[in-house]
Symmetry: C2
Subunit: 151 residues, 2 copies
């Protein structure tokens, strides 16, 4: 039986889990039925809190395709993406997000993302304004640049 | 006059902007008054949509301190972090978030993050469940591992 993209995501997660790279989270990016990027949680391996499965898969796909845009692709992830990964998925321009487990399932095995989601909401109100005029001057300089891109 | 951490973040942003690395966004991570990580937007340079200023600063700080936890640190960023970066800041355990410009300021120079925030909210409801049983089995295997960590 042909393996589904979600099977490939599970395989990624298992590999990472068995080798102590991080939690049981894997993801693959798919274009036209072909896997173009793979990733699993490597937070412990790389000592980098941004190395979640989805971000690793996105970075892998971008490396392999040589672009920062993954428009027209889908992502398959073993567990509901956290806001950081959901953000990365959106910036990448990915179309559909297929998820295996959800955030409650993750909580059942000890990943208390509920605290994370609650804190995210609180943190948005904890931003401390500082030197806005200086930063506005920076923005004005950017706006005046020829051929500037926004993304 | 001693430069503030926000001045250092602005300097990062300027360097990236002038060298075509990406948008005018920079950030620094600070512990006990000392800058331990610097970053600026390198989306175009690395062709990687996750290389926002804040994520680059976090990864730099983690590389330099050899840990995935940045507890007890603060971050100074030239512009309000997007949800991806806010998520990364929270996963890293960063305490205070000092911001220069806000999301409306960024919109004024063409970075239409409003679309992003709106889409984030919609996307959370666009998640497509798939093979949850298979992914739950994966989680059960992780739960049974000795010495497993959650983060």
């Amino acid at each position: 039986m042909k393996k589904s993209p979600m099977d490939a995501a599970i395989q990624e997660a298992e590999y990472g889990m068995e080798n102590g790279h991080g939690g049981p989270f894997g993801a693959v990016v798919v274009r036209d039925g072909k896997i173009i990027g793979r990733g699993h949680n490597r937070v412990l391996l790389y000592r980098d809190p941004t190395c979640h499965g989805e971000i690793e898969a996105i970075r892998d796909a971008c490396r392999k395709t040589g672009t920062h845009s993954l428009e027209g692709t889908d992502i398959y992830t073993t567990s509901e993406p956290c806001p950081m990964c959901l953000g990365a998925i959106l910036w990448a321009g990915i179309r559909n997000i297929y998820i295996g487990c959800n955030r409650e399932d993750a909580e059942d095995i000890g990943f208390r993302d509920r605290v994370f989601y609650d804190t995210m909401n609180q943190m948005a109100y904890r931003l401390i304004p500082l030197q806005r005029e200086d930063c506005l001057a920076l923005f004005a300089r950017y706006k005046a640049l020829p051929g500037r891109e926004t993304y």
